[in-house]
């Protein structure tokens, strides 16, 4: 019994040794992998890069990522391409706005937004005219929406609705024109080398 017990203790000890050896080599392997993953140049972190060139401006990956994160807070399904497209459109509009208002020295995003808004108001919205016939037609076709209110009561409201619709169309048209005449290069991932 004793010898059996001794043998069993010896076997168990040997088994423990093997276990320790396995732990040792596994640990060594894990540490090596971690070390090379963190220290090796071949796996260096990309800190930033250019993802889009829009005439003389660029969109950086950091900016794009920030915009994507913000956009996905309100719409989780928004595509990467759409976010980048919106950034490009904003650059094009801002470029036009600055051309009309040179001397704006700030680079604060809030100021830029105000400038773009002002540009849209003055350059695009101001040219929109809604004829009275169109307002009347809208009123006639949507009487239930205005729950028996007189035309004159809702005229301004209808005009605003129609202006917003027209503005959207005009803005899209304007952006298309700007994009057609712009130099735009997009590389969301690092693209192939040039010939």
């Amino acid at each position: 019994m004793r010898s059996k017990k001794k043998q069993s203790i010896g076997q168990r000890a040997k088994g423990k040794d093997n276990f320790l050896r396995r732990v040792f080599f596994l640990t060594l392997y894990a540490l090596c992998t971690l070390h090379f993953a963190l220290c090796s140049d071949s796996h260096a972190d990309v800190l930033d890069r250019i993802v889009a060139i829009v005439n003389k401006e660029v969109v950086l990956q950091s900016e794009y990522q920030k915009a994507l994160n913000t956009a996905r807070k309100s719409d989780v399904n928004i595509s990467e391409a759409r976010v980048l497209d919106e950034m490009i459109n904003r650059i094009l509009l801002l470029e036009q706005a600055k051309r009309l208002r040179p001397g704006n020295s700030s680079n604060k995003a809030a100021d830029d937004d105000a400038l773009v808004k002002e540009y849209i108001e003055k350059r695009i919205k101001s040219s929109i005219h809604v004829p009275i016939e169109e307002i009347e037609a809208f009123y006639t076709n949507n009487t239930e929406r205005f729950s028996g209110k007189e035309f004159l009561e809702v005229k301004d409201e209808i005009e605003d609705i129609l202006v917003v619709g027209k503005l959207r169309l005009k803005l899209l048209e304007h952006i298309k024109e700007l994009r057609d005449n712009a130099y735009i290069r997009v590389r969301l991932s690092a693209g192939p080398d040039l010939p």
């Binding site: 320790l20 003389k56 040039l194 010939p195």
Partner: protein
């Protein structure tokens, strides 16, 4: 990791308890694992800490177009500083402004206890060459005009489709609808450089077999059967055809749109109605001139409105000529396809403006008259009356009479209505003067400093133009001190005849220069551009400095365009906005060919041909090869210039290799007096000291072969045969002339000393000095008085006192003593040939009178002579006087002078005529 550690300890504990194996063995393993863990975990721990953000190294990969240092400077993350991702983003954007990158990627990794940054860039390649193949009917030049690529430009792959479409469209227009085009870029053996290959298969052209057009117009439509159907050519012919029909009085011809099908070109033409105009009663203005006033051919119709417009314009023409009473009427009728317009004109008398008077003015009438476009004594132009009225009002307003009114302009016709007395009846009103000037909002610049810059004082007439200028001066003052966003508003308050002005200043924050980004320099090295900058990082923005920098860059002659823009604010330091400055450049062609032709009485026809390249290796070094040819000279020069020797501003180094054959001839007989063949080199430095001072030091070595010398000319043994002359020539000049080619004021003074010595490898030894002092004074308008004194002396150390022929002084000719022909003054040899001498003195005096339209007149007096040796100086001076004509050109005036000898010797001619370029001095 902690779990692993606990587990190991736990096993060890159990193992030691259960197995009873020596602790030593397990301890070793444990210790080893611990050590290993520490070794591997240490960098991980370190990387997670703050210290890992310290930048330990920066590498750059993929950069070929600029220096690595320039990119690192632009991104502006430095070794030793803590990495900041916002700064990196700003840096990448800044570097992108260079305009040579598609992508700048920043990657990092742990390095030496910190971070190593690597910038991996993808550059925009340059197009080295555009190679075309397969184009037979469309020229290379045409294709290059069509595609959006040029040799030497950036290759942007995004334009490839556009290039292909544009080229196919062009081929379509040129009659090759089935053309095929392939455009591809091929990397050259240099990085960031491509060849653009354009493969063209033109395909069969469309051929015009028949031209279907009205028979009477076929002659004027220059497209033939058998031609390729070139739409551009057809469009041009249709345009020409319309012009022809209009010249035949068809005022609205319609040609086209044409059709081309199965080889048949159909061009429909509708001539439309014809217009016949007749003019009756016009004597002072021709029918041709009156026809120019009709708008029918531009409008394409003859409406009643257009007829009225024609009448108004014609009347205006008559008024302009002084026909105040002129009346024009028109009669219109239509017969078949012809519209007939008869213009009936009553010209009346021509009216002259006898006198212009002003009533009610306290200002001199002459002063008011000088500012109105109407002029007394000339035909009266009624068209100018309104403009005259406005001019008077503006004039009064400028003097502070802001309430001035012109009550009436009386027209008093005299002498049967042919003379007009024009009287402006003016109510001047009070003169408003500035009583007070105030400044508000200025904190950093004191009111007294602004007041000094203002040029507007209390008591000055109140005038909006002056006030506007003053406002601009305040803005300029602020701009010069870096306040680029300063705004100034003006508030004026007028009380009776007193005005109170307040300039409301919004200073905003001053700006300093951040990084200076240079873009567009494809060949020129950045340091060549940077050394011309008068501003540097951290300087306050100042428009004048920026302008100076621009001027210096233009002056290099390398750039066609230089623009400086201030970029948006990136950061603020010490309350100042730090803004990057972008210097955008467009390089011109560094190579040039120079050809000139001319004529001079001595040289006869002369010409020169030069090839220069002024940006060798991108270092603004200049090389050139030039040949000058005339009847008396043949000269080849190879030159090299380094404008910044030892990187020193305005220290010019010049190296010349010269091969020259000169003949000295007798101007009258054209007999050769001697010939000199010279092969030499010159190394020189020139330093501009301040603006007016210039010093040079040259070393020259020449082999001079003097041959075919008239015996009488020979004075020394070196006057014939070959001699090597090595010399050093220091010189100093002081030049304040306003224009070196045609000065009107200022002066030029210089001293040049030439040493030839055996120490300088010379076979002969001498010292030779010349001095010059020239002055230019504007006497009255268009008249300049100029005088010059020049002199020189030489001394030979050799056994013979006379210098070699090539080094001796000669006088006479178009730039010295103009009564004598070239080099004929001074001592003569046995055969009466001029020998030249060791000493000369020369004085010139001129009145230069500008006659207008580039022509000028000159009267002059010259005095001078050459003496063989110092002891001969007692010989008298030779005087000449004369006159000449000048015609201005960009490289100085063309001159024709006649000089008359005032104390001529027996046998000498009375004077000489000289034709050449440039002034005498």
């Amino acid at each position: 990791m902690i779990n692993i550690y606990c587990d190991i300890n736990h096993s060890k504990w159990r193992h030691s308890r259960e197995s009873g194996n020596p602790e030593k063995y397990r301890g070793k393993i444990l210790a080893f694992i611990l050590l290993l863990t520490s070794y591997f975990l240490l960098p991980i721990y370190t990387y997670a800490s703050d210290s890992d953000k310290v930048i330990r190294a920066i590498e750059v990969e993929g950069l070929h177009r600029i220096d690595k240092k320039e990119l690192i400077e632009l991104i502006d993350l430095r070794v030793g500083r803590i990495f900041d991702e916002d700064e990196l983003a700003i840096g990448i954007k800044r570097a992108f402004r260079k305009g040579i990158f598609y992508d700048i990627q920043a990657v990092s990794g742990p390095y030496d206890g910190g971070t190593k940054l690597k910038y991996v860039v993808k550059e925009i390649p340059l197009i080295k060459k555009i190679v075309m193949d397969g184009n037979k009917k469309v020229s290379v030049r045409d294709i290059k005009k069509v595609i959006p690529y040029k040799e030497g430009d950036d290759f942007r792959e995004e334009y490839l489709n556009k290039a292909k479409t544009d080229l196919l469209n062009h081929y379509g227009r040129k009659g090759f609808p089935s053309a095929e085009v392939t455009i591809s870029a091929e990397q050259t053996d240099k990085p960031a450089e491509v060849h653009l290959n354009i493969q063209i298969n033109e395909g069969p052209p469309l051929i015009i077999n028949t031209v279907d057009i009205a028979a009477d117009l076929r002659w004027y439509f220059k497209v033939s059967e058998g031609d390729i159907f070139d739409k551009d050519a057809v469009d041009l012919q249709i345009k020409n055809l319309k012009e022809y029909l209009k010249s035949e009085n068809y005022f609205n011809p319609v040609a086209g749109p044409y059709e081309f099908r199965d080889g048949v070109l159909v061009v429909p033409v509708n001539k439309g109605q014809r217009l016949e105009m007749s003019f009756i009663g016009n004597y002072a203005v021709s029918a041709k001139d009156l026809k120019k006033e009709v708008p029918f051919f531009e409008d394409g119709e003859v409406t009643d409105e257009a007829v009225q417009e024609a009448l108004d314009r014609m009347k205006s023409v008559y008024l302009g000529e002084g026909y105040y009473y002129a009346q024009v009427a028109a009669g219109k009728r239509t017969e078949d396809e012809v519209i007939k317009l008869d213009f009936i004109i009553f010209e009346g008398k021509k009216v002259f403006l006898k006198k212009i008077e002003f009533e009610g003015t306290s200002i001199s009438s002459e002063a008011v008259k000088s500012i109105i476009p109407l002029t007394g004594g000339k035909p009266y132009n009624d068209n100018l009356l309104a403009a005259s009225r406005d001019s008077v009002l503006r004039f009064y307003n400028a003097l502070g009479y802001i309430k001035t009114d012109i009550k009436e302009i009386e027209k008093d016709f005299q002498e049967d209505g042919s003379q007009l007395l024009l009287k402006f009846i003016i109510a001047e009103g009070p003169q408003t003067k500035i009583e007070g000037i105030q400044f508000e909002g200025n904190r950093d610049i004191g009111s007294s400093e602004i007041e000094n810059a203002l040029q507007l004082k209390k008591g000055s007439p109140y005038n909006l133009v002056d006030i506007g200028d003053a406002r601009y001066r305040i803005i300029s003052l602020y701009n010069s001190k870096g306040y680029m966003d300063a705004r100034v508003e003006v508030e004026s308050r007028v009380e009776e005849d007193k005005a109170f002005i307040t300039f409301k200043v919004t200073e905003n924050r001053p700006s300093v220069i951040g990084k200076i980004i240079i873009s567009g320099n494809r060949q020129t090295k950045a340091k060549i551009i940077e050394r011309e900058f008068t501003v540097t990082e951290g300087d306050t923005y100042n428009y004048e400095d920026i302008l100076t920098t621009k001027q210096r860059l233009y002056k290099l002659g390398i750039f066609n365009e230089v623009s400086v823009s201030v970029l948006e604010t990136e950061k603020t330091e010490d309350g100042k906005l730090v803004r990057d400055m972008l210097v955008s450049l467009k390089e011109g062609n560094p190579g040039s060919v120079e050809i000139s032709l001319g004529y001079g009485d001595y040289e006869r026809f002369r010409s020169s041909l030069g090839i220069n390249y002024n940006n060798l290796g991108g270092y603004h070094r200049q090389v050139g090869l030039k040949g000058d040819f005339s009847a008396v000279k043949e000269r080849y020069t190879f030159s090299f210039k380094e404008p910044w020797l030892f990187n020193q501003r305005d220290l010019l180094f010049t190296a010349l290799l010269i091969k020259e054959k000169t003949r000295s001839v007798n101007l009258d007989t054209r007999d050769v007096l001697y010939k000199i063949d010279r092969t030499g080199m010159l190394l020189g430095i020139e330093k501009v000291i301040k603006k007016e001072w210039r010093a040079t030091l040259n070393y020259e070595y020449s082999f001079v072969d003097t041959k075919d010398v008239e015996p009488g000319v020979i004075l020394s043994r070196e006057d014939s045969g070959t001699i090597g002359i090595g010399s050093a020539t220091p010189s100093l000049f002081y030049d304040t002339r306003d224009d070196p080619f045609d000065p009107t004021r200022g002066s030029l003074h210089g001293i040049v000393v030439k040493f030839a010595s055996k120490a300088l490898l010379s076979e002969t030894e001498f010292i030779k000095g010349t001095v010059q002092s020239s002055w230019f004074f504007p006497v009255i308008k268009r008249v300049v008085f100029a005088f010059s004194l020049r002199g020189g002396a030489a001394y030979s150390y050799d056994t013979i006192q006379e210098l070699p022929l090539v080094e001796r002084f000669f006088l006479g000719g178009r730039t010295t003593v103009r009564g004598y022909s070239n080099d004929t003054l001074g001592p003569k040899g046995a055969d009466d040939s001029p020998t030249g001498g060791n000493i000369f003195a020369l004085g010139n005096l001129e009145f230069r009178i500008a006659l207008g339209k580039g022509f000028g007149l000159v009267t002059f007096m010259d005095a001078g002579n050459v003496w063989q040796l110092l002891q001969d100086v007692r010989m008298k001076l030779k005087y000449t006087s004369g006159a000449g004509l000048r015609y201005k050109t960009p490289i100085g005036p063309i001159s024709l002078d006649y000089g008359h000898k005032m104390n001529r010797d027996r046998g000498e001619t009375s004077g000489e005529l000289h034709f050449s370029f440039g002034h005498a001095f």
